[in-house]
């Protein structure tokens, strides 16, 4: 029973890793278990979230289920 957090762009540097396997449960509880400095960055205003590849509007109320992948997406800069 695990879920996965994915840190993109500069968030990978902040986290010191690209992915983190976490236990399922409410997102608030998952974030509370992280380094506070990382959690603050993940909740930054310009960071968007995608659950299993789909953008989600708000993190509030999210409960990670077994096999879920939650990605944290800072502003993009391609091309």
């Amino acid at each position: 029973m695990t879920a996965k957090l994915v840190f993109l762009g500069r968030l990978e540097d902040v986290a010191g890793m690209g992915e983190l396997v976490v236990g399922p449960g409410p997102l608030e509880a998952v974030l509370a278990a992280l380094e506070p400095a990382l959690a603050v960055q993940l909740l930054g205003e310009r960071v968007r979230m995608a659950l299993n590849g789909q953008l989600i509007a708000e993190g509030g109320g999210i409960v990670l289920a077994d096999g879920d992948e939650l990605a944290f997406l800072p502003p993009v800069s391609g091309g």
Binding site: G9, A50, S77, G78, G79
Partner: protein, 149 residues
């Protein structure tokens, strides 16, 4: 119909464009955009560039962009190639090509696709200069470009 690829290895933009052009003899006009890592001198020169992507979203987003581009203009063909990974000065980063019966459609389609690749696709870029690696934030221009469509 579109040829959309997310590439982890260096590619030859000219070879790809030659294949695309040869595949579209029916098109009156072909427009291409090639973005490459600038080869420049000086203390601030970029020595390397890295693009990160997100497997769950980046290629699906590019494919959706290609479909939107094809739906909006009358095209004979569309090519969208984008690198990820570490690149060096002179390396191609992105190649977009549009073949169309009419010139304006080819220009607009390539321009539209590039604006969206730049500011709405799931890529994160960092650059290495003499001072080390630095993440690149989107430029205000990128959002202004997008507002044109």
């Amino acid at each position: 119909m579109a040829d959309v690829r997310l590439l982890g290895e260096a590619f030859s933009a000219m070879d790809e464009l030659a294949v695309f052009t040869a595949a579209h003899p029916e098109a009156g006009g072909l427009v291409s955009f090639l973005g490459q890592v600038r080869q420049e001198g000086g203390a601030h020169a970029v020595e390397a560039l890295e693009l990160k992507h997100y497997a769950a979203m980046t290629l699906p987003g590019m494919t959706a962009l290609a479909a939107a581009t094809e739906a909006r203009w009358r095209l004979d063909g569309l090519l969208i190639l984008h690198r990820y990974g570490v690149m060096y000065p002179g390396d191609p980063i992105v190649l977009v090509a549009a073949a169309a019966p009419h010139r304006r459609d080819a220009f607009a389609a390539a321009d539209f696709a590039m604006d969206h690749l730049k500011s709405q696709s799931w890529f994160w870029k960092r650059e290495k200069t003499a001072r080390g690696w630095r993440w690149i934030e989107p430029r205000p221009d990128d959002h202004r470009d997008l507002a044109r469509w």
